[in-house]
């Protein structure tokens, strides 16, 4: 029965890849990439159960956290054009 669920997730993964390639905007691609990340986590968990090695779940937990950080980092990049605070000489002066 895990094989059925894995097939479903793989199909969803393929569809998400199609959307990631098609775009058209960067946000669509990002949404698709986020969806691919979720699919990867589910695949890891299901594959672990399929092969009777549920230790794969630990890798899945790591993926969950990385997925979220990655998405938010990219979103912040799109909004501000940088990952950190903008270089502001005045502000640096105030900090000193």
């Amino acid at each position: 029965m895990f094989a059925v669920a894995i097939l479903a997730v793989l199909a969803a993964l393929a569809l998400a890849v199609v959307r990631a390639l098609a775009g058209p905007t960067a946000f669509d691609r990002l949404l698709a990439v986020n969806s691919i990340g979720t699919s990867a986590i589910m695949l890891l968990a299901l594959f672990g159960f399929l092969t009777d090695r549920p230790e794969f779940l630990d890798i899945g937990i790591t993926y969950v956290l990385l997925n979220m950080i990655g998405t938010l980092a990219v979103l912040k990049f799109f909004r501000y054009g940088a990952l950190g605070h903008a270089q502001d000489p005045e502000r640096d002066e105030a900090l000193r």
């Binding site: 029965m1 895990f2 059925v4 669920a5 097939l7 479903a8 997730v9 199909a11 969803a12 993964l13 569809l15 998400a16 199609v18 959307r19 098609a22 905007t25 946000f27 669509d28 990002l30 949404l31 698709a32 986020n34 969806s35 979720t38 699919s39 986590i41 589910m42 968990a45 299901l46 159960f49 549920p54 779940l57 630990d58 899945g60 937990i61 969950v64 956290l65 997925n67 979220m68 950080i69 998405t71 938010l72 980092a73 979103l75 912040k76 799109f78 909004r79 501000y80 990952l83 950190g84 605070h85 502000r91 105030a94 900090l95």
Partner: protein, 204 residues
């Protein structure tokens, strides 16, 4: 394992796979970003939840179930935050939702012209960082939107109560997200106010 549990696990896994594929199909079929996000939310909540439920029933009461619970809780929480951030970034970037126009066709529509209060809201910091500004309450369009206080134009009490509950949930989610981002030194999602805060504290 008892046959009842096997059947329940089967049913949850199959239903979860079904909803997962539904979400992915919607991701390809929907006309614009916002409806696509709506479609993906099906697979991110119902699909993931049911798949995890199936696996949890299969493994029974064990450490594996706890790990599954961690995965699904983090996925549900961060899914909401990521959707919120994605929609906000898209609106900031000028992405126009496709709506049904007067001629009955789907046309990209500037939502700031439809909902004028969106304009000031998009320029504001995120709602989790919004503070009381003492904005004039008489004009709902010009007033800053403050969570926890229903606007004067709202007459439907149930709807506003539901909206406030949703906002409370979102604020809890945002707290977790902002904590994580601080931890990784990415900064905050919002610009001006948080910069001021950094300066006040003299972080270095």
């Amino acid at each position: 394992m008892e046959p009842v549990f096997t059947m329940a696990s089967w049913a949850a896994l199959c239903l979860g796979g079904f909803f997962y594929v539904i979400g992915a199909v919607g991701l390809n079929r929907m006309p614009d970003l916002f409806t696509r996000m709506h479609a993906v939310s099906v697979s991110d909540t119902l699909g993931v939840g049911l798949l995890t439920l199936g696996m949890a029933i299969h493994s029974g009461a064990s450490l594996i179930t706890v790990k599954l619970l961690i995965v699904v809780l983090v996925l549900w929480t961060t899914g909401a935050v990521a959707s919120h951030a994605l929609a906000r970034a898209a609106l900031h970037d000028g992405e126009k939702p496709v709506l049904v126009g007067a001629d009955g066709r789907l046309t990209p529509t500037d939502c700031v012209t439809l909902f004028p209060e969106l304009g000031p809201r998009l320029a504001q910091p995120l709602s989790s960082e919004a503070v009381e500004t003492g904005a004039d309450q008489g004009d709902p369009a010009a007033a800053t939107w403050i969570p926890g206080r229903s606007r004067s134009g709202d007459t439907n009490a149930t709807a506003s109560a539901a909206a406030e509950m949703g906002m409370a949930a979102m604020r809890i989610n945002m707290l977790g997200a902002l904590g994580l981002m601080k931890m990784f030194r990415i900064g905050t999602m919002s610009s001006a106010r948080s910069r001021g805060r950094t300066r006040d504290r003299g972080s270095r």
